[in-house]
């Protein structure tokens, strides 16, 4: 089985960056088996179709507007994902509806599709997560790990995770880019 954990959203749009942050955090805190690919999809739109084409299962991490208090977790599965993205619950207009639809035309719809999200507080130009969303990040990451485990994947917490560093350095790849110099 091959699984992709896909973070969606724009790091430059405040809470919209929570999906990307969660993907990076998942990799930092957990040891994942080889069949899992972490993908920071940003706001890549249709170009994502090719990156998801081989995935049997896709776990999306995203800011999800469902009308709850900021930081409220949400889980969607299967057809509900299609329905909710079509209704543009995701504030960044990533075009994920079109990604899913294009995948369907190519007969590449993943067998399993689950979204774990967090209700955003603020979405707009800027870098940083609001307090309720930042507080919900831990739970989102753990929920993602639990989801992968439920799929039968070996996901174990790392004994000695790298230090997190300030947001958004890890998400942007800033820490890695600096050490490469």
């Amino acid at each position: 089985m091959s699984a992709v954990v896909l973070g969606l959203g724009n790091v430059l749009m405040l809470d919209d960056g929570v999906g990307a942050a969660a993907v990076v955090e998942l990799g930092r805190r957990y040891r994942l088996p080889e069949e899992v690919t972490l993908l920071d999809g940003g706001v890549l739109g249709l170009h994502l179709v090719g990156l998801l084409a081989d995935a049997d299962s896709v776990l999306v991490l995203d800011a999800v507007r469902a009308g709850g208090a900021p930081g409220t977790p949400a889980r969607l599965e299967g057809a509900a994902v299609h329905a909710r993205y079509a209704a543009r619950i995701s504030p960044h207009e990533v075009g994920f509806t079109e990604v899913l639809a294009t995948a369907a035309v190519h007969a590449r719809t993943p067998r399993r599709l689950v979204v774990h999200g967090v209700e955003p507080e603020r979405v707009g130009p800027g870098v940083g997560l609001s307090a309720p969303v930042a507080a919900a990040l831990d739970r989102l990451v753990d929920a993602a790990a639990a989801e992968l485990r439920a799929w039968g994947l070996q996901v174990r917490p790392r004994d000695d995770p790298e230090p997190a560093g300030p947001y958004p350095d890890g998400v942007l790849g800033l820490t890695a880019a600096r050490s490469g110099a």
Binding site: N10, V11, L12, D40, G41, G42, V43, L44, G45, L46, H47, L48, V49, G50, L51, A53, H92, E93, V94, G95, T97, E98, L100, A101, T102, A103, A104, V105, H106, A107, R108, G124, P125, G126, V127, L172, G173, L174, A176, A177, R178, G180, A181
Partner: protein, 561 residues
């Protein structure tokens, strides 16, 4: 009458077109960018060496070119010349992104404005196979193959799984291709997905990570080159990438370009629809070993394909007369400020006051003139500068299509030049890979100049400009560094040039101008407007509003074409 088409593009972002239709033609148009993007303000106060990591996030699809423009701006400010290997790695990554982007644009984004899925279901697969054989020797061609594609499409339609095609304008009288041609293009639509998954490997291998590359660096690249390491780019890696490049080229030569010429022949009227402002500008890009760009920069004016002027970037100004910013005289991007002052209606709204300020986009101008940027500008400038391969490709296409040269200033002209520059660029990949291989073999593994890495080596104040030719057109980043930090940053993206609102003189932006005169057969289904706007490859999704002469709203519909 007003019609809402939302969104026009199938990718991230926002864009709104208001088009006034009179007697079956667009009489006037307004391009509205309804979302404020304050990237410049995000960068102020940060370390200039980190700017590219932020910059590559401003647009979902233009990651590489924004990263590159950003590191070039800092290098320009600090007087850094990157080593030859960095030049080659950058060219390879950028050209790969071009090819990827242009193919996805044609088949997956723009194509459905021209080819009709429902018509493809009526095709005779034998006729499609014969057509394919006539167009090119592409091997994926048999009656059985096209029958299977037709059956698969039929199953999608019957199963109600039309996906991105669900709300397209099928059956619209503006669709002109024969069923056999539609089946061919739909088959290639499907093949393009596998093609792009292959092509993207070059970007992934050299960029370290996809889709957001991690190997740019102020001073060069961080892609490790080492003939003795499995973890680095070595001669085996280059051989793999050469094979990918060969497959990329085969598809572009035998599928993309012939498909586009075939489509162009079926839509002759579209070689005169969407003329636009007819001033073209390219910054130039893809530096050679001598520093000279493969694609030269230049400006062509008033629909002429000769008399190219050099670009003096200091003559660029941004006008905010009709934009939602604090009033200011037109300023060069290096001294520009981003002071939002929204005066439009509270969203969501039906109607904007297009007589006043109506866009978040500024209006960039070159010596007060509107400029169109993108493939048409690049190919026309290269042609005017006498670049042999560009002349050959463009002249051959004009002859094949029986087009006079002015036909290039059109919707089809933009599409054809996009395909031709893809062909030109994928032809360069093997040569750049060979140069990289020769450097590695000769022991030249230098990928960065780190002599100006430490802020202690920088002047107290420095300014710089970095440009690239993004797939969508000329892209510029302007930076000011003071005491080791970014004190000012301005970006002018290609869609700001092409999608700008009017300026102080009342001159329309490039695609506002291109829309004027566009025929609209059925204002409730304005596929013609989509064709004109999509041909510019806007980087934003867009909503189109069609207004009648009295400004009244008759219909509102939502379409994801």
């Amino acid at each position: 009458m007003r019609i809402t088409v939302d969104p026009v593009t199938r990718i991230e972002g926002h864009l709104r077109i208001e088009a006034q239709v009179k007697e079956g033609r667009v009489s006037d148009a307004w391009s509205v960018s309804p979302m404020f993007r304050g990237i410049e303000n995000i960068l102020v106060g940060r370390d200039p060496r980190d700017a590219w990591l932020f910059a590559q996030r401003i647009c979902g699809v233009c990651t590489t070119v924004n990263a590159l423009a950003s590191v070039r701006a800092v290098e320009n400010a600090l007087g850094i010349v990157v080593p030859d290997n960095a030049r080659l790695l950058r060219n390879l990554m950028e050209a790969t992104q071009y090819a990827h982007d242009h193919v996805v644009h044609f088949y997956h984004l723009h194509g459905p404005d021209w080819f009709d899925l429902t018509s493809a279901l009526k095709a005779d697969p034998a006729g499609t196979a014969a057509l394919q054989a006539r167009l090119s020797p592409w091997p994926q061609n048999s009656v059985e193959y096209f029958t299977s594609v037709r059956d698969r499409l039929k199953a999608l339609v019957d199963g109600g799984q039309l996906g991105p095609f669900a709300n397209a304008y099928w059956g619209h009288p503006a669709y002109a291709l024969a069923p056999e041609s539609n089946l061919l293009l739909m088959a290639h639509y499907l093949q393009a997905l596998d093609w792009q998954r292959d092509a993207v490997r070059i970007h992934a291998v050299l960029g370290g990570k996809n889709p957001h590359p991690q190997t740019y660096l102020v001073g060069g690249m961080s892609t490790p080159l080492d003939p003795t390491s499995e973890q680095a780019v070595n001669l085996t890696t280059l051989a793999d990438l050469r094979a990918v490049a060969g497959r990329m080229r085969a598809f572009v030569d035998q599928v993309y370009v012939p498909d586009l010429l075939h489509l162009a022949e079926a839509y002759p009227a579209w070689a005169s629809i969407g003329r636009g402002s007819r001033n073209l500008m390219a910054y130039g890009d893809f530096p050679g070993a001598d520093g000279k760009p493969l694609m030269p920069g230049g400006i062509l004016r008033d629909g002429r394909l000769t008399g190219v002027e050099a670009v003096d970037q200091s003559r660029i100004t941004e006008d905010v007369t009709r934009s939602w910013y604090a009033p200011a005289a037109p300023t060069h991007p290096s001294s520009g400020v981003t002071s939002p002052r929204y005066t439009g209606p509270t969203p969501p709204y039906d109607r904007l006051d297009t007589d006043g300020r109506y866009s978040w986009s500024k209006a960039p101008r070159y010596r007060d003139a509107v400029m169109e940027v993108g493939p048409l500008a690049r190919m026309a400038v290269a042609h005017a500068r006498g670049v042999p391969r560009a002349r050959q490709l463009l002249d051959h296409a004009l002859t094949t299509l029986h087009w006079p040269a002015p036909a290039l200033f059109s919707t089809l002209g933009r599409m054809v030049t996009r395909a031709l520059e893809t062909q030109w660029l994928v032809e360069q990949l093997p040569g750049w890979l060979d140069e990289l291989g020769a450097n590695i073999s000769a022991g030249n593994l230098t990928i960065a100049d780190d002599s100006r890495w430490l802020p202690e080596s920088w002047p107290a104040r420095a300014t710089g400009v970095g440009t690239t030719e993004a797939p969508r057109g000329a892209l510029g980043h302007w930076i000011e560094i003071a005491d080791g930090k970014i004190s000012r940053y301005q970006i002018v993206i290609p869609s700001t040039w092409n999608g700008s609102p009017r300026d102080a003189r009342g001159h329309r932006g490039a695609w506002e101008e291109a829309l004027v005169g566009t025929p609209v057969r059925d204002p409730a289904r304005p596929v013609e407007i989509l064709r004109v706007v999509h041909a510019f490859d806007p980087c934003m999704a867009c909503a189109v509003h069609v207004i009648d002469a009295h400004g009244g709203l008759v219909t509102e519909l939502t379409v994801v074409p």
